[in-house]
């Protein structure tokens, strides 16, 4: 049990607890705190996968932008005065059982026998490689994603502005 493994197990624990909190918590803000914990855990796992740039981008984009956006939406449109009607506990338990069975079958029966094990190379992909491939071979998806972001900004603005004159 080296120190690296102990920290890895801690990150796995944080990810699992965050994911379970997101699903089980009653109030939406607690679910969001669970989501943020999950994102930090996944960022730690990215560092173990030799991808420190992706880890920092994950924290910057998801925790720094997406989580805050969702908190603002909860404050503006949150379910505070009307409790939503959820399924009963028995139904939830049965559905969880079905999902767990699906996970077990998929992982233990199919995935574990599919791949030839992991390759253990100490290859470090630098930010320069990522940048070079973004502008070299993957220029087309890059431009499409930028177009998508512009379209989504314009769409969000139009939706917000044009729904206001109902008073």
């Amino acid at each position: 049990m080296t120190l690296g493994e102990l920290i890895f197990i801690f990150l796995l624990f944080v990810t699992f607890c965050g994911a379970l909190t997101t699903v089980i918590a009653r109030s939406l803000i607690y679910a969001l705190v669970g989501l943020v914990a999950t994102m930090f855990g996944i960022a730690g796992l990215y560092i173990y996968l030799n991808a420190p740039f992706i880890a920092m981008m994950q924290i910057l984009i998801y925790v720094g932008a997406v989580a805050i956006l969702i908190v603002f939406a909860i404050m503006l449109a949150g379910p505070f005065y009307k409790k939503p009607t959820e399924w009963s506990k028995v139904t939830k338990f049965l559905v969880s059982l079905i999902i767990a069975l699906f996970t077990y079958l998929l992982f233990m029966r199919i995935i574990l026998h599919s791949f030839l094990g992991g390759q253990d190379t100490a290859f470090m992909i630098t930010t320069k490689d990522i940048g070079r491939s973004l502008f070299d071979k993957l220029t087309f998806p890059f431009e499409l994603v930028s177009l998508l972001i512009v379209v989504s900004i314009i769409g969000a603005l139009m939706l917000a502005i044009f729904s206001k004159d109902r008073k």
């Binding site: 705190v33 943020v36 420190p52 924290i59 910057l60 720094g64 932008a65 805050i68 908190v71 930010t127």
Partner: protein, 326 residues
């Protein structure tokens, strides 16, 4: 002495360096907080043509200790309806980005706790965590004024985060690396402030706005919203928010020094003295701002960021990229 080398051989040099670095970081944080508390009141006093505190110790130097003891001796008052996990988590969460930022700042050529390959990305990524903890503090306090103060503070923070990132990106273009030590080494010829004056100004203004200092301190102004998102916190938790804010001032000045003013390089004295001289010079300028400028109105504040600073930093980035690659 042999016992020391024995311990180092046993545990590994990296661990000893990490532990020594962490102890050094804690010392710097505490000393900086004490110094800034004293300096703020003295500078405020002298700028208002009065002397600051002078009773407690020579020139009022023991005043911060007296203030700290008073603050810690207060009762830790937890209101009844707060959401307990969120309320108690927020002051802890707001301190994490500050401590993480200290790991990558180069105080001298060898005095850096760890020279991570993406140093500046670590600092920027974790500064977005402090925004989240402000929201949690405002929400968990179960108080309308806290919530309004928290939302205002977050809106200001995310608005000024973008010019901060873009102005630093222009310097990263010039130095070709994310690591802070490489950026200081790349300023051996001429400091970057002469190559990129606009980026320096944008970064400094955005940094002052990030730390919620005047003229951008509407979220925590005393005459506006009681005290913003830390209204319901008392004694030790308030001290943590306070400490985080003062250390943030130091970190913003330290990053400005590293990126634009040459970091630890200087002619005669050892590097670390030059680093502290430059950083505390910028800290003094930030303290000076508080008693010089009036408070900016909130919509003027947001307009300034979205309509003026962001286009300006984009143009700066374009011009930098153009000059470098053409």
């Amino acid at each position: 002495m042999e016992r020391l080398t024995d311990i180092i051989a046993l545990v590994g040099e990296e661990t000893v360096r990490a532990i020594a670095g962490l102890i050094g970081v804690l010392i710097v944080v505490v000393v900086n907080a004490i110094l800034l508390t004293w300096a703020e009141r003295k500078v405020a006093g002298h700028m208002q043509r009065r002397i600051g505190p002078k009773e407690v110790g020579p020139y009022g130097l023991i005043q911060p200790f007296a203030d700290t003891f008073k603050l810690l001796a207060k009762e830790l008052l937890v209101p009844k309806d707060v959401a307990k996990p969120l309320y108690h988590l927020a002051p802890i969460l707001i301190f994490i980005p500050v401590l993480v930022s200290f790991i990558v700042i180069p105080f001298d050529a060898q005095l850096q706790v760890k020279d991570i390959n993406m140093g500046i990305l670590v600092i920027l990524a974790f500064s977005s965590l402090s925004v989240f903890s402000i929201l949690i503090a405002g929400w968990g306090s179960h108080n309308k004024y806290s919530l309004i103060g928290a939302v205002r503070s977050v809106a200001q923070n995310i608005a000024y985060e973008i010019p901060l990132l873009l102005s630093l990106l222009a310097v990263i273009f010039m130095a070709n690396s994310f690591s802070l030590k490489d950026i200081v080494e790349a300023q051996k010829g001429l400091w970057f402030v002469f190559y990129q004056p606009i980026a320096f100004l944008i970064f400094f203004v955005a940094g002052v706005a990030e730390t919620n200092r005047t003229p951008f301190d509407l979220p925590e102004a005393e005459s506006e919203l009681v005290a913003g998102f830390h209204t319901e916190y008392s004694s030790m938790q308030f001290a943590l928010f306070f400490l985080a804010e003062y250390t943030n001032i130091f970190i913003v000045s330290a990053i400005a020094t590293t990126f634009f003013l040459g970091g630890y390089s200087g002619p005669v004295l050892p590097g670390i003295i030059w680093f502290f001289v430059k950083t505390y010079g910028l800290v003094f300028v930030i303290l000076w701002f508080r008693w010089t400028f009036p408070r900016v109105r909130f919509d003027q504040l947001l307009n300034f960021s979205w309509k003026i600073l962001i286009p300006l930093s984009f143009i700066n980035l374009l011009v930098t990229g153009g000059i470098l690659k053409i």
